[in-house]
């Protein structure tokens, strides 16, 4: 009996789950050698990076941002254009791809995050629109609707990341690191401060927490992580166009987090996976895709508050508590 209990406890243990997850990621390219499956894994990893900052912002700052597609696109275009037009080294382009959206987010955040409520949501919606118009209309810089071709593969110095399998490792290394980074933040002084802000901005202020400062910092993080994701995307697919970075994507990302659960990392991973496989999910009934998606969203919000992972998390906690008795 006791061994079974211990075993069950072990299975519920987050560290073991994480270990199994990382193990699967490590052997994935060896087991699933088909290009299609590796693509699924790569895009899931990219979406993890894209979602990780946003989940902190929505889940812990409690504000909406619809700028994610714009930051994603900004990262993709920054590193694509720097490497194709100006011949900048890819790793430099990659860094710039994180920096530019980060700076943009910082500027926008500083100007608007002192305001409460829906104003940031509106400004980010507008930003998405402006970005889309800009890349579509500025033919001479961005190639307009036809986009940027011939983006070189990722490379760090002499090491070129060309095969899908090696790309898988690069993407997931960054994805796992960003997940760890975000988890560390939530489990620490900064995480407590964010929860305090969510609980009461007034109480947080009198305890010495710089409310708008934290909001701006986390928003900047959404920009940086989206920019990195954009660069990873561009250097993998080698061709980008405005259609990859639409407002629809921004809305989708917010919604998918609500379904997965904004408060924890598994929600991010789940959302990323779902985003990747969703287009193929219903097979021949694809035209019902969005309808089904909308209904799932509504049902999750009604019956699984906190998102799917939020509920599973509580169930596991409950089961653990019972087993420990």
């Amino acid at each position: 009996m006791i061994t079974i209990r211990l075993l069950l406890r072990g299975l519920f243990h987050k560290r073991i789950l994480t270990g199994v997850g990382i193990g699967v990621l490590l052997v994935f390219p060896f087991i699933f050698s088909r290009e299609y499956l590796i693509n699924v894994s790569i895009f899931t990893g990219i979406f993890v990076v894209l979602l990780v900052g946003l989940s902190l912002f929505i889940g812990h700052v409690g504000q909406f941002s619809f700028a994610q597609a714009a930051f994603y696109g900004m990262g993709a275009y920054t590193s694509s254009l720097l490497t194709t037009r100006l011949g900048v080294a890819v790793w430099l382009g990659f860094l710039a791809a994180g920096a530019l959206p980060g700076l943009t987010a910082y500027a926008i955040g500083s100007l608007t995050l002192r305001l409460r409520g829906y104003y940031l949501a509106m400004v980010t919606l507008a930003l998405c629109g402006i970005f889309h118009v800009f890349v579509t209309e500025q033919y001479s810089i961005t190639g307009g609707p036809s986009g940027v071709y011939g983006i070189p593969p990722l490379s760090f110095g002499k090491i070129r990341v060309e095969s899908a399998a090696s790309y898988h490792y690069v993407v997931w290394t960054i994805a796992v690191l960003s997940l760890i980074f975000s988890r560390n933040i939530t489990k620490s002084r900064v995480g407590r401060a964010l929860k305090a802000i969510e609980g009461s901005e007034d109480a947080a202020t009198v305890l010495g927490i710089d409310v708008s400062g934290y909001k701006i910092k986390i928003f900047t993080l959404t920009g940086v992580s989206a920019g990195i994701a954009g660069s990873l995307f561009a250097h993998y697919v080698t061709y980008i166009a405005p259609g990859n970075f639409t407002l629809d994507l921004s809305i989708w990302l917010v919604v998918i987090l609500a379904i997965g659960g904004v408060r924890n990392i598994s929600g991010v991973v789940m959302g990323a996976g779902f985003t990747t496989i969703f287009p193929f999910l219903l097979g021949p009934y694809q035209k019902y895709n969005m309808l089904v998606f909308g209904i799932i969203l509504v049902l999750v919000l009604m019956f699984l508050p906190g998102g799917i992972t939020g509920v599973i998390g509580r169930k596991i906690e409950g089961a653990k508590a019972k087993l420990l008795v």
């Binding site: 949501a121 629109g129 969203l297």
Partner: protein, 299 residues
């Protein structure tokens, strides 16, 4: 010749102003819908634009396909959209009572996705169209042309604005709806049925959206996915005017419409949307509470 050119420009400007006011009136209608729901519930309803879409698609279908005459088609469309709004409140908003704003706003996004995709399944991707209510013969107006539909649209927004103003100012139910937004518990304690107020606000704001949709069909192509853009523009107008302020919604709508159409004359049409959004951001930075708003924002 110089004078001639001057006149030419003036009439062009007039043309832009006319089309700006027309478009802006529709935005104002959507923004008013936002305002009503926001004032009673603090929710920003992302499905607001889809009410416009439904109104537009329904009236075109009823009139063109089922050959119902115009006025009954219009009334029926608005009624159906109002019912959709009510159904949305009953099935999605009410069950989520008391869970905070985030899930509620998300569920309106969910509603929008459902509305959008159902519309695609029902009507497909082809745009629909309808003749102007009073024909499509343009009226000459100081060198510019004026579509008769413009008069309908502008007339409608004026009537709606006056009616809403009187409703909130002078009727008990209007006052009660405002009281909800101030304080749920206090409203309930003075005997206001908060539930009914929220339901009415959804029905009313859906009906407004439906009306906007009905009015817009003759001047534009309407499609299953027009709701998203309408939501965006309406939200922008509401924020521009000051979220929560009804006069602000009207002013915001008109200003947005004018900014759009006048910027058409200045830059290429591809930039139109980004100019408007830029104007919006600028206004928010200078006057964070919007043109007429003040009460609903803290700095």
């Amino acid at each position: 010749m110089g004078i001639g050119e001057g006149e030419m420009t003036r009439s062009q400007i007039l043309q832009f102003v006319i089309s700006g006011i027309t478009q802006g009136s529709i935005y104002a209608m959507v923004a008013l819908g936002f305002t009503i729901i926001f004032r009673t519930t603090r929710i920003v309803n992302f499905a607001q634009g889809d009410f416009v879409m439904f109104g537009a698609m329904l009236v075109a279908t009823l009139h063109n396909l089922f050959h119902i005459s115009l006025l009954p088609s219009i009334l029926l469309s608005i009624l159906i959209v109002a019912m959709i709004g009510g159904a949305m409140e009953i099935t999605m908003i009410y069950p989520l009572k008391g869970v905070g704003i985030f899930p509620l706003v998300m569920i309106t996004l969910g509603a929008s996705i459902i509305f959008n995709s159902s519309s695609l399944l029902i009507w497909g991707v082809d745009p629909l169209h309808l003749k102007g209510f009073s024909g499509d013969n343009p009226i000459r107006f100081y060198g510019a042309t004026l579509m008769p539909q413009t008069l309908w649209i502008v007339g409608a927004i004026v009537c709606v604005a006056v009616a809403l103003f009187s409703f909130f100012r002078y009727t008990k139910i209007g006052q009660a709806m405002l009281a909800c937004s101030m304080n749920d518990e206090a409203a309930a304690s003075v005997g206001i049925n908060v539930r009914m107020m929220v339901l009415s606000s959804f029905i009313l704001s859906a009906a407004l959206g439906g009306l906007g949709g009905v009015l817009i069909v003759p001047i534009t192509m309407v499609m299953f996915d027009m709701g998203v853009l309408m939501t965006l523009k309406g939200f922008a107008a509401a924020i521009l005017g000051g979220l929560g302020s009804a006069p602000g919604a009207v002013v915001g709508g008109i200003v947005l419409g004018l900014a759009e159409s006048l910027s058409c004359g200045i830059v290429s049409s591809g930039y139109r949307d980004s100019i408007t959004l830029f104007v919006l951001i600028l206004v928010l930075l200078v006057r964070p509470s919007g043109i007429l708003g003040s009460r609903f924002i803290k700095r």
